[in-house]
Point group: C2
Chain length 402, copies 2
DNA sequence: GGCGATAGTTTTGTGGCGCAACCAACGACG
DNA sequence: CGTCGTTGGTTGCGCCACAAAACTATCGCC
């Protein structure tokens, strides 16, 4: 690279005429994808500001390229009826997920529909990667077998509960599985048939799915903290509808933010981490229950008056509230999304968390704060698939069929 | 707006031919600005990938518009000598800053040079806004009087130690000044002569200046946490060279992240906030010194063996280390920048902070962690000016002289 | 059945970039 | 000291993509 190029790098997004066409193709495709209902060429033109003639040519190209379909039924109303446009169901991506309690595969299409799903619930704490990957491979093959006639699978995204390297190829460390330094693509090569596989942190991908529930479609919040509560606690920060992944892609370890520094030692080498108070393992231990107790059971016991469970949940809520208030102070992300197993305790936790936020967030008087729940229990897999489908929407040219 | 437009909003960046020209003008101007040395048209072409003919046309336009100057001395070497290009010194912006200890005005030009500066060091704790703004107005007039012959001042940015609303027009609350609900533009109208004024949080603007030391030029770090230690503690998170300002622009209150929840009560309504351990007021109180003691004096006393000072500094370093480790875990921003008065203690604080980071950051084995110091003591003012100058670089069309 | 309204296509015009040829001005070398 | 090679910068032409506007198609409504 030219020496100056580095200096100018952030802005070396130079534009040719072709760039212009790519941009507008993406604009049109995103518009078609963003709408729940089919839209017409004229509707796209009105929404985007492009002229009808330009939209027509771009749509024709997308139809020819197999990314958009023209419906047969016509949209009624005054004037000439419109031909409805929808993203095709033949473009698909696979979402995969492995964590301590789930192995799952999902096939999503460009409309954001779940085309196929296969899953099982083994216990993978301290497991051998090979066996788990084999099971994942079976599920992967199952969903791929249900690819629609003439369909193309553009990628696969695997959600893992651990630290993934920046390139998305290598799992560095997944403490709760007991895995480290692993390249799962090798073990899945046979089932993948050349489909590109990328890894991602579970919470990061789940947050992506929450920010963008279907390709090109905006979720109800663009600035939020995602908390994924399983054995440990993962997380992700989303600002401007984009997941903050950090310089090396390591961002999101909210479970290891300090709640009581100097308190409970944590296997991570630190002490007083949030995870030691709001993680499942910590909560069940405090409640005096076996480690395999689910959070749903814990919640039921608390409901029935079991003191230990109540205290454990209250402490967890306190810890979450305090730590999340700090995060909101730092980043002004006024929505908290509870995902993963901890969602099962949302009813008991939410009031305390909201109270702590109101009390501890400096700008609370000027902004509404909200705690919501993500009910997708394999949200990481959904996010993994959506990651690849989003790529189709943002740069359609690369995916046009010749 | 059309109903679909909202749904498609993130991508409704449709491109016309004019967009294309604007983009490329920005690319060329950024390239000229990014280089410390003057560059030639051919150099820009090589760096950006645009052709020489296109660069020539764009440069001509920038020269005609008064944003770029052709030098007279020629760049030697084999072949025809090149005509050197530099950003003009006639485009300027004003940076203003008011905090508990400084009132300052700076005039910066498009090359990033400080053209003029005026400042004073009154004590503004619990002060009347009107008097401070009057003083600021005097300094503003002083630097504006030094605008270069034929120069244009494109904007003014005022850095304030408090919460500013999203539009950049209103100061909502500045606890350490004792100010609230204030629109400073009114009080400065006479001196501003129609120059647009925008407000920003002091630490956010200082971070901007650190991320981008001159218009269009990248600083040495693109992912960092900026800590501005004065009476209280402010901060900012920078990812991908952009300051994270949050949904309402309230981001950056790192001083009110929890260090010892349940500990020292904080005027913010919470307790155990970082600021209660690492803010100047907290440190001097702990050291048994008068509140007006500067951190430089505190450091000197510690050097001389004063136990109270040593303990106060050590506790502050501990608190910073713990909280910052949490932030790094959350966001993977491996550089910490110490700015403001706390920079005077950098030597004593840095080792402890770095030790805590190494011990408490989960991904520490895979990434270098670094604590650096920002030596600009009115960095907020610099950032305020750079904010406006950056706008010139990113969208030059709006600033071309007719 | 005529009319207005809306959807979509076709034609023509315009702006902006790449390409390639050209001119300009220097250093190196014989 | 002249020639040649090298690099900087300009000019004219063609292509590409979008805008504008005229045109066709098809509906609902009176």
């Amino acid at each position: 690279m030219h020496p100056l190029a580095a200096a100018a790098s952030p802005g070396v997004v130079l534009a040719h005429q072709s760039t212009l066409r790519e941009t507008n193709l993406a604009v049109v495709l995103r518009c078609v994808c963003a709408s729940e209902e089919p839209v017409s060429r004229a509707g796209v033109a009105a929404a985007t500001g492009l002229t009808r003639s330009t939209v027509s040519r771009l749509v024709d190209e997308l139809v020819a390229g197999g990314l958009v379909e023209e419906g047969t039924a016509q949209l009624a109303g005054p004037g000439r009826p419109a031909t409805p446009l929808r993203p095709t169901g033949r473009i698909c991506a696979v979402g995969l997920q492995v964590n301590a309690a789930h192995v799952a595969a999902r096939l999503l299409d460009l409309r954001g529909r779940v085309v196929a799903e296969a899953r099982s619930e083994p216990d993978l704490v301290g497991s051998e990667p090979a066996a788990a990957l084999q099971l994942l491979g079976v599920h992967l093959a199952q969903v791929l077998a249900q690819t629609p006639e003439g369909g193309r699978v553009v990628g696969a995204g695997l959600a893992l509960p651990g630290v993934v390297d920046g390139s998305g190829e290598r799992l560095l460390r997944a403490p709760n599985l007991g895995w480290q330094d692993l390249s799962p693509a090798a073990g899945l090569r046979e089932q993948l048939h050349g489909i590109p596989l990328s890894l991602g942190n579970e919470a990061n991908l789940a947050a992506h799915a929450f920010a963008q529930p279907a390709p090109g479609r905006q979720g109800r919040s663009s600035h939020f903290v995602y908390v994924s509560g399983e054995i440990g606690i993962g997380g992700a920060v989303v600002t401007d509808a984009r997941v903050q992944s950090g310089l090396h892609g390591f961002a999101g370890e909210i479970g290891h933010m300090p709640f009581r520094p100097g308190g409970d030692p944590c296997p991570c080498g630190s002490d007083g981490c949030l995870e030691r108070y709001a993680g499942r393992l910590a909560m069940t231990r405090r409640a005096g229950l076996p480690p395999a107790t689910t959070l749903a059971e814990l919640g039921r016991l608390a409901e029935e008056g079991h003191t230990g469970s109540r205290e454990a949940i209250d402490l967890a809520a306190e810890a979450l509230g305090v730590v999340l208030a700090g995060v909101v102070n730092l980043l002004d992300v006024p929505t908290i999304v509870l995902g993963g197993e901890i969602g099962d305790l949302a009813d008991r936790i939410t009031p305390t968390v909201e109270a702590r936020l109101r009390a501890r967030v400096m700008a609370a008087p000027w902004m509404p704060l909200e705690v919501v729940q993500d009910t997708d229990d394999v949200a990481g897999a959904t996010g993994g698939a959506l990651l690849h489908l989003t790529r189709v929407v943002t740069s359609p040219v690369a995916f046009l069929a010749t």
